[in-house]
Symmetry: C2
């Protein structure tokens, strides 16, 4: 059950797509607190757990920290950060009571979840306007589903986007890109796409191509597509200020850029130097910006990633000017420490200064609004611009799209990647824990950069991280300029990495089926054990194991030099320790705590009781993965039933009943199938 | 067995205090590698483990990263850092072969331990000069002891320094300090000392007192001492450039500051603004600088901490001047991104720029040396200056001393604290893992700032961290300016924190005894299980449990919201789950893997087989802890023998045989004692 409460005069964010009648009277569960700001409090009992908030730091259970919805270009995902790139104001409390809250409020919101006091939660809004939805249900999963139905169906990418993907900031030339493709194909590492980071553009201008670096861009895209490798370019939020650049000139002419309080285009510095921000909160401007993606679609491109759309600001021009003035005035002075620290503070404060959000404006349907009031909607609406445009440009075809910044609602137009993580073991675990929190928000197509983006990686980290990402819908290896190269072919243990990628392609039919069912039914793909095994008192403490789809529990190794790990089983399960798609050992483990060995080349999967994991024979790209002859690893006590979803992977005929087949395996190992026949070799675990 | 090899013309660091004959011919184990730089390599077998390197990031087993000996003021102790504050060039390889190596080389040294290739270790020296010691033995502990004998006995602090200590950057006034003392004493939280961070000084000048903030400093020191609370001031490395400041004027007059290549005093900016560095590598200057500690000793001070002695450099004056010039020249220009990034790079490069190490010089017994050649010796020799001075000023009394920066050899003059950690759960674990690595270097008196120094802490983190530090010789809560206050009385669950500190004072006789035996016998106080249980194939993977002294294994909880943890027992042990000194439950667990509950207020200890843990009745300060009536928690199969060391805690009569008592508990619970009698209530576990 959902109830809607209105505070002040909330901006229409379009996060919610269903009508809900407005409630009068006091909101249940959370008490409106006294104070200048709109604020709600809830007493936390010792057994209460708090889930949600999507992309943020720390655990799946969010208790014990203060989080802040304020989309930031934040490259340091450390424990004491309050914000990352997103604003995901939905959470569920489970314990003495079970309820969910979604604050549809595009300004800054703070969630003190047992930070100031261990036993108190307090949600505070910087702006007085919000539409607040309260959900009731018997379980977290039920409440999540209520919320998901409200905010609309999750974005569905093309099937090839579930293959393994390779990126780097940046492959600088066509030669470098061909070389990556060659290294993958020649060495039989599976691969489905190669990413273009900012350097493919001419002076970082959106919807341009640097013809010196990529003179035959269109030909390259086609050549690689023949090898079943898609090229996926990046699009940035800021449009370069440059005379003669048509996107800039058009935007100025039509008045589609954000303006300052004098009505002049607001200037900030990002990659291209001075840029303007397209006013994606303005419907016309959004349509105009989205239409530009056609420039690349016409060149054969089938996927994009939207970056820098918090929006990131290296400097606001006025702040930079005054800072340089101040520093210049220090010349010749004997700098004491207070002056030196002021100097450093000024320089440190140039980038992503929230004060600069007050200096520019959006022309919305509700009139002119200062950016700080609606800050968290920018990335959402940039990606919405693209998503809405794709519906116009190629309505019958899925286009890959994921964003860095997001707000609830953006999940209908694209996924996200988890931003600028680092090559830290700690971040592999952090990215793992983010998966179910993001799924709660409707963001199903997501993953963190394998091997870590910033900092130098190590071979064992890449191996363990690739294993961890085996079930991640977005499985991409990406790394930053100046860091150690980390394509799988750079390392000594190539067989190990080849085998892990081989497993991925074997898992594809299952993974795709589970993803599609989650998207089409408004459910979660990655679930914490605590959401499913609700009667188990211990299981809420398990945050390094997840259910991936309905059949499998995954338990990656997150610790350097570890040769195994502890695994908690809430019920009897069948372990599959995989070295490759063909080389694995299996064993049933009873419910309880176990230490299980997993050497560097070994991945631990667990098939749940009366469930099955279907496996293809793999391939080196998604189109090569055949489903006409598969294997089922089945743990059957009574009988296991699996609904297998499949489709052509490109079109949108999702509700065709032929997409679903129902496979039943009995305790004696016999197998039947409803729907189109399936050739399945059954292996009983 | 130890062998010594000479490369080039090594500087005499005085790290080693015993004579070792020089070997000719090829060094065993590590192969001298080709290349421009002096470099050694070793092939790592899969089973090889590498231990040592003292204060650095990552695990106890150092495999899988590249470390760098280059003392740095580094406040971000994250996984991808190569250096922290220290240079500790001793490591032990255990696996196919077992050997140790100490590179006595004060320049930058890089340790690639399976970073470039998982199966190769490579040690590279920036300078061609080194004395290299190679150790052979049957076990890591044997090799560590050989090394420790070579480098001399570890520093021993006064007994009160094993009490609980409270710090903050900064308690600004006498009133604030009295308030801290009052809050502790009135609320019966045990406490032995309060720290003064940089603001007690007059304009950050070493060996001065800000008389506006602390007009009655001497009286305050005496008053607090009556309450058994010592005041421990900080001393910084840089001496302020200020006319009329006697330390500055004397130093200039005598030529005791480091000079630039023109022979002028080298100017850098640190806390006081412009400073000079005392040339602590010059024997006369070292003596002169050390003598100044008498200024505070005469005021009743009995302990110090030496900071900023890497040495930290906020800016070198010449680099700051040229940076301001360059930035000023940008005025009016249209900054594109390459100019902006150059600008940011310049500013970021102002502090701790290793290029600045080449700009100043030391006058050593080997002549004038550029700082970069001997960089890692600075902190060591600043603390040596103090330690040598204490021997002159009060030869019969122990003075508390610990430093931030260190090099092997400094362990004879003081301990270290683990520097500017953060209020991260991850850092609690990092600091725990550093303990045995530091013990290997001879640094026994050490600990990390409880609750974390930088960033905002949480109540549960302070509770878990205080539990973790129960056995740490240096047990200090410290936090940075601008972060959440974190004295134990700031939180809701005061009983839990009071009880944890109560346990500490109960543990003091054991802790002191184990520390003193480790120091006097050149052994380790904190040991990884792997060093003791050498026949156990699994135990080398256990890095979140440690042996604390001979009787106890400690297994803290490192995870937020966890209600217990996995514990591995290499043999049967007796668990003691303590809520307070008087409230605990016990249970024997067999060897193997266990999940054991430990609620927020509960600490897990394990008494080893045929060992005992002696416990006093506690107290609110160390002098109040009585040993005339104690309890022994004993796990006796055959018999348990404990050598209990005690002394007056202030003097240096360490070898007095009366300091040692030998307690024997038989399987029937009867207890005998050799030496002075002891009144011991035996509790059989």
């Amino acid at each position: 059950m959902v109830q809607k409460y209105k505070f002040g005069n909330p901006f229409r964010t379009d996060a919610v797509v269903r009508e809900v009648a407005l409630c009068e009277g006091e909101m249940p569960y959370m008490k409106k607190a006294d104070g200048e700001k709109l604020s709600f409090s809830y007493h936390l009992e010792q057994e209460d757990e708090v889930y949600g908030l999507g992309e943020n730091v720390r655990g799946i259970n969010k208790r014990g920290w203060e989080y802040r919805s304020c989309c930031m270009d934040e490259p340091n995902h450390v424990e004491d950060k309050r914000s990352l790139y997103a604003s995901h104001n939905f959470f569920v409390v489970r314990g003495k009571k079970c309820f969910g809250v979604f604050l549809d409020a595009p300004g800054i919101v703070t969630f003190d979840i047992g930070y100031t006091h261990l036993d108190e939660m307090r949600v505070t809004l910087e702006e007085p306007d919000a539409m607040v939805y309260v959900f009731e249900g018997d379980s977290v999963l039920e409440i999540v589903k209520e919320f998901r139905v409200l905010v609309g169906r999750s974005y569905i990418p093309p099937k090839w986007a579930f293959g393994y993907q390779q990126s780097r900031w940046s492959y600088m030339t066509e030669d470098e890109i061909y070389e990556v493709a060659r290294m993958y194909r020649d060495n039989h590492f599976p691969l489905d796409s190669i990413y273009l980071d900012i350097d493919y553009m001419e002076r970082y201008k959106d919807f341009t191509i640097d013809r010196e670096r990529m003179p035959h861009f269109e030909e390259m895209v086609e050549n690689l597509k023949k090898e079943h490798i898609r090229v996926v370019p990046i699009i940035d939020a800021g449009v370069k200020v440059e005379e003669g650049y048509s996107v800039y000139e058009e935007g100025v002419e039509k008045g589609y850029f954000c303006k300052d309080k004098e009505g002049k285009e607001f200037v900030v510095g990002v990659w291209p130097g001075q840029v303007h921000f397209p006013d994606v909160l303005n419907k016309d401007a959004r349509e105009w910006f989205g239409n530009h993606y056609k420039f690349l679609i016409d060149k054969g491109v089938e996927g994009f990633w939207n970056d820098m759309n918090e929006p990131a600001i290296f400097y606001a021009q006025d702040r930079l000017d005054s800072t340089i003035d101040e520093i210049a005035s220090l010349k010749g002075q004997n700098l004491d420490l207070s002056i030196f620290h002021k100097f450093m503070g000024k320089v440190m404060g140039l980038s992503n200064n929230t004060e600069d959000y007050k200096k520019f404006y959006h022309e919305t349907e509700s009139g002119r609004l200062s950016h700080d009031k609606v800050h968290n909607l920018f990335g959402y609406n940039m990606t919405r611009a693209a998503g809405e445009a794709f519906e116009r440009i190629c309505p019958d075809k899925r286009i890959l799209m994921f964003s860095r910044s997001s707000y609830v609602g953006m999940h209908r137009y694209g996924g996200i990647w988890m931003g600028d993580n680092k090559s830290w073991w700690q971040h592999m675990l952090l990215n793992f824990k983010m998966q179910p929190s993001l799924n709660m928000m409707g963001i199903l197509y997501t993953g963190g950069d394998i091997g870590g983006f910033g900092a130098d990686t190590t071979e064992d980290l890449v191996i363990r991280w690739t294993q961890m990402a085996l079930f991640a819908p977005l499985m991409r290896n990406h790394s930053a300029l100046g860091t150690r190269v980390q394509e799988v072919y750079r390392f000594d243990n190539q067989d190990i990495l080849r085998n892990i990628l081989g497993i991925r392609y074997g898992l594809l039919p299952y993974l795709y089926s589970e993803f599609m069912k989650a998207a089409l039914r408004d459910e979660m793909y990655y679930k914490p054990l605590a959401f499913e095994y609700t009667q188990d008192a211990y299981v809420s403490q398990v945050e390094d194991q997840l259910l991936a789809g309905d059949s499998v529990m995954t338990a990656p190794v997150f610790v350097q030099n570890a040769k195994g790990r502890y695994v908690y089983l809430p019920e009897e399960m069948a372990m599959v320790r995989m070295r490759s798609l063909d080389d694995y050992d299996t064993r049933r483990y009873p419910a309880g705590h176990h230490y299980i060995e997993a050497g560097l080349g070994e991945t631990l999967l667990f098939v749940r009781r009366n469930k099955m994991l279907i496996l293809s024979k793999g391939g080196e790209y998604t189109e090569e993965v055949k489903t006409d002859s598969m294997k089922a690893l089945a743990f059957v006590e009574d009988k296991a039933v699996y609904e297998w979803y499949d489709d052509d992977g490109m079109g949108k005929d999702y509700s065709n009943p032929e997409n679903i087949r129902k496979i039943t395996i009995s305790a004696d190992g016999s197998c039947t199938c409803e729907g189109k026949p399936v050739n399945l070799e059954v292996e009983m675990l």
